[in-house]
Amino acid sequence: MSAQVRAVAGSGVPLLAVEGLAKVYPTGKKALGGVDVVIDRPQLVAVIGSSGAGKSTFIRCINRLVEPTAGSVRLNGEDIVALDRKGLRAARRRIGMIFQEYNLVERLSVMQNLLSGRLGYVGLFAALRYRFPPEDIQAAFALLDRVGLDGYHDQRADALSGGQRQRVGIARALMQRPELLLLDEPTASLDPKTSRQIMRLVRELVAERQTPAIINIHDVALARAHADRIIGMKDGLIVFDAEASALTDAALTRIYGEEDWSRPQDADDEPAPAAAAPGSLSLIS
């Protein structure tokens, strides 16, 4: 429950403080033009914007999968941008990432994929033989149950459906016991119903584990329905940042331009996957 303590203690240091974050790609493309974001409590932050607005660049600069050109990213006070390779690896252990294409190691089993979330804590040879501490194994089984994949541990990742793979992706990220979750279009490859289920799962997990999450998403309706806070990006800059209910039509026009951004809001009433087994949760966080 350390995350909760951090949040409650509120020593004044925000969970995440991004300042002046900028990225110019080698092609000369200025993808991120100085972005400031502060997250001071566990919340689900949706980043919306047109394709090419810089959402992925923003999220990838936070864990430096993309090397930022300027700015700082402070996670609980520590500036990730200033870290050397070794320090960066240590910081990445504290940040869970979830991808549009799931990015599971396809030929490995679900359990092996989950355990890869703990690689930062074991040596090379333990990793190659998949020798992990018992508490990691236990946490993995509990998490699988939590994301609704109880009993799937020996399935190969490439035998799963898209929705199931994304659940494994989420579980792998949570195996890290992250202080921050980054999600880059996690529902863009899924059908609408599965997308809503995944979004609901993410929202619940953010609340349960008191972990802030930044989620890139191009579906405005989904963002509105599930996020606590919405950041709108356009041409590498933040043009909107407020709680979800404040996202007005005028704001959407500012983010997307004059195009027709409105889309019918789908009914959102599928039951959440595998309701939380309360007993199993204490094992994890």
């Binding site: 910081a91 869970g96 190691v105 092996q112 090379l124 990793a127 792998r172 890290q176």
Partner: protein, 277 residues
Amino acid sequence: MTAHQQPPRGSAPMRGYPDQWERYSPRERFVRWLWLAGIAIAAAWSVSALDIEWAFFADAHEQAADLIERMWPPRWSYFPRIVQPLIETLHIATLGTMIAIVFALPVAFLAARNTTWNQGTWLIGRGMLVLSRSINTVIWGLVFVAIFGPGPVAGICAVAARSVGFIAKLVAEAIEEVDAGQIEAVEATGASTLQVYGVAILPQILPVLIGTSIYRWDINVRESSVLGFVGAGGIGLLLYASINQFAWSQAIVILIAILGIVIISEALSAYVRSRIV
């Protein structure tokens, strides 16, 4: 079919659409003829340069018939003598392949653009590939016989030396084609570089590694059967001796045995490779 559905013929064709089409432009056709002419010239040049003694062709069929006559019937009583060298041949191929795999993996990671450290290490990796591949197994055999003296050790080293490049080249290509997303995801968990190689890349290239190794093993069974010609162990030594002594009925026994082993190893290799998913 009513008449007006048919396109009018003769008088007023479908105007505007071309009714002629050629795959190649005249220029392209000319270039193709140039290529053909070039190949013909190259062939003619080779034949004239080789100083082929055409007279030998005249009685070639008689010589072949004579050879078969001297080979037949095979001296089956010779077979027990060749069992041990045959097994040695298989061992040379198998051990040589295994040693090659051990060396091929790091070489492959060096020679793949996406896993090598820098331009320098990439060149080293590529250099090893070229060196290993450009020298024939029998030549490698000569080299290692000079180093270790005659015997199977030289054969094993020769097989390994030639196979490292073969296996590493195909594995390096597989490494360059792995899904970058899977690597990125494991990197994002804070794994070390070697952990990323082991956990995210190795599973992706494993089918290629296994398939290539088994394929190379069956090539090596064939190649190690002639390594004895240069003293590097195996059945080739006896084959060479039999041919030198004109003991053709012995040679045919050896050839049949080699054929059998090659067929079995090829079938085995094909079967195992077909089972890899």
